[in-house]
Amino acid sequence: MTVTYLPMLLVDVAGSVTMIVFAFMSLNRASGLKEKHPENILFLYLVWICAAFTIFAVSRSFGHLLKQMLILSDNTDIWAQISPYSGSINTISFMVVGLITLFFKQSWQINTELLSSRKNLEETRVKLIDLNQTLEQKVVERTEMLTSSEHKCRRIFEQSLDTILVTDDNWRILETNPAGVDLTGYSRNKLVIGGMHMESLFADKAEWDRISRIIETKEYILNEEIEFIKPDGSVQHVILTGGIDYGAFGCERRFHFIIKNINEKKEMEKQIAQADKLAALGELSAGVAHEINNPLGIIMGHTQLILKQEAGNEFKYFEDLKTIEKHVKNCRTVVADLLAFSRKGSTEHGVMDINRIVKDVAGFVRNHSDFRDVEITLDIDGEQSLEAMGNEQELRQVFINLLINACHAVEKSGAVHISTGTDHEGRLLVHVRDNGCGIRRRDLDRIFDPFFTTKPGGQGTGLGLSVSYGIVKHFGGTITAGNRKEAGAKFTVSLPAAEKQTEAQ
């Protein structure tokens, strides 16, 4: 069959060129996709397959074009030599195309899994971000709460007027607040950094043993009234409440205490009790003095009458009557003192210059033959006149009593110091200090009691301080006794200033 060759030629040439063009366009397109999404395995696969198709198209089309050219130029023998190579390359190229195509399923699978993993990863990342944000938010909230709570606790701890004290398992102080430093009188360094033992705060070691035993047994202690001792030796009355804390994880035993200072309350109670006692004693003394005073007056009258009648005669009982008269006078002095203590007597009041009285009394005592070896010093507040309302003679008696007591306390060879001044309320103060043996603690409560004396028998009536107490009280003042930090005793007379007293009246 003879046919026209032209259609075959045209289709062959045009088809070959078109094949090459579309193959390259496909490769370009696939490469574009790959570049846009370099992480996509499928597009990488498409690049590979398009590359294989391009090789296939080029090798095939090149072969065809060459064949046509050689046939048309009557060089069929050359083509006969080339065609096996061209055919082989062509075979290899579509073998490669076929081979790559067979991996489509696997490529798709890998891509799907990758995409799925990436999606999961993204979801997980979003969740993680969300969780992280939530966590951060929670951390911020918790931190704020914690800070607020810490601040609140710290404020309570720092500003509490009661002492808060924490000790370790061995009762060593770990922490305390400023009130604790004030109460104990020890520095924070000594208490906390020095790890002071709780026992050191107790005035009575037996009391500490009892308290620690109770805490160990019951794991708490409630409102126990005890005494602390300060570094200066003074005693502090406190109420102790405490318990055991095992810490946040239950493995660290600590003791927590809240200690309330009741010193002022105790002092006040003591003063009230003292005042009540002295008032009752005053009433009693006044009654007794009144009842005794009349018979004493009769005895004295009759004795003196007989002595007067028998004056100039050789009277047999003259000495006896004199003895009676002397002792009755003594008795009347005691009775007068008792009345002075109870202030049942009436005296005239006027303005008293405290500084002048103190100077006079000091001069008087200095000149007393018994106390010449005592060094009496004065510290008079001369800048302002210290004037109080009262009876000057009686106030002199008060200061004489106090000075004589002080001179006795220093055993007639120590130092007595008198100072005057005012307190922050404007009350007038007179301090009498000595460097003697001081007052025993058990005697402090009874020192103003009538007939209470620490002097050897016959040397004192025990009425001096009680009379002084009565006088000062009658003037609207107070008299207190105590021991000095260094050594010796200190008496303080406090009187209302004259103007204030007048204004009040």
């Binding site: 069959m1 003879t2 046919v3 026209t4 060759y5 032209l6 259609p7 075959m8 289709v11 062959d12 045009a14 088809g15 070959s16 078109t18 094949m19 579309f22 193959a23 366009m25 496909s26 397109r29 696939a30 996709l33 846009k36 999404h37 992480e39 996509n40 499928l42 597009f43 498409l46 398009c50 198709f53 198209a57 046939i71 048309l72 069929t76 096996p84 055919g87 082989s88 062509n90 075979t91 290899i92 579509f94 073998m95 195309v97 076929g98 081979l99 195509t101 067979l102 489509f104 399923k105 798709w108 891509n111 995409l115």
Partner: protein, 151 residues
């Protein structure tokens, strides 16, 4: 281990100097090339069938891009069949002979004188009419590949 290093070089030297010819290399005839080429076409065809089935199996043909690639594979199948048939007729079985009469005419002669074979051969030689659409569909398919595949 020491024995190994002594034995292997000795054995190698023995084989080198004292071995006889083994005739292990197989000879190949000229028709092997055509058969390999035909197997290539069949393999290409098979891979295109697999591609079509995979796209259908994964329901990717819902997307225009993959559908166009399926068409490309289909045309490549047709092209492979045509090429296989043409090679069968001229190279493998030598049933058809082609000779150039002039620049514009050729003569196709079937060995058995069948006019139908001659016409069929002529048409089969226009195989670019199958492979050009195939590559065109491949390109268009790539143009319509959904970008969502990447995400």
């Amino acid at each position: 281990m020491r024995n190994f290093f002594k034995t292997v070089p000795g054995a190698s030297l023995f084989l080198l100097f004292f071995s006889d010819p083994a005739f292990a290399t197989q000879m190949h005839s000229g028709t092997e090339g055509v058969i390999v080429h035909q197997f290539g076409h069949l393999f290409f065809l098979f891979s295109m069938v697999v591609l079509i089935l995979t796209i259908t199996g994964k329901e990717l043909n819902r997307e225009k891009g993959w559908r166009l690639i399926q068409y490309a594979a289909f045309f490549f199948i047709l092209w492979n069949m045509a090429a296989f048939a043409a090679h069968l007729l001229d190279n493998q079985m030598n049933t058809v002979t082609v000779s150039n009469i002039s620049f514009s005419e050729i003569t196709i002669t079937a060995e058995n004188g069948s006019r139908l074979i001659e016409i069929a051969y002529y048409l089969l030689k226009l195989d670019h009419l199958l492979c050009v659409p195939a590559i065109f569909f491949l390109y268009r398919g790539l143009c319509h590949i959904p970008v969502k595949e990447a995400s």
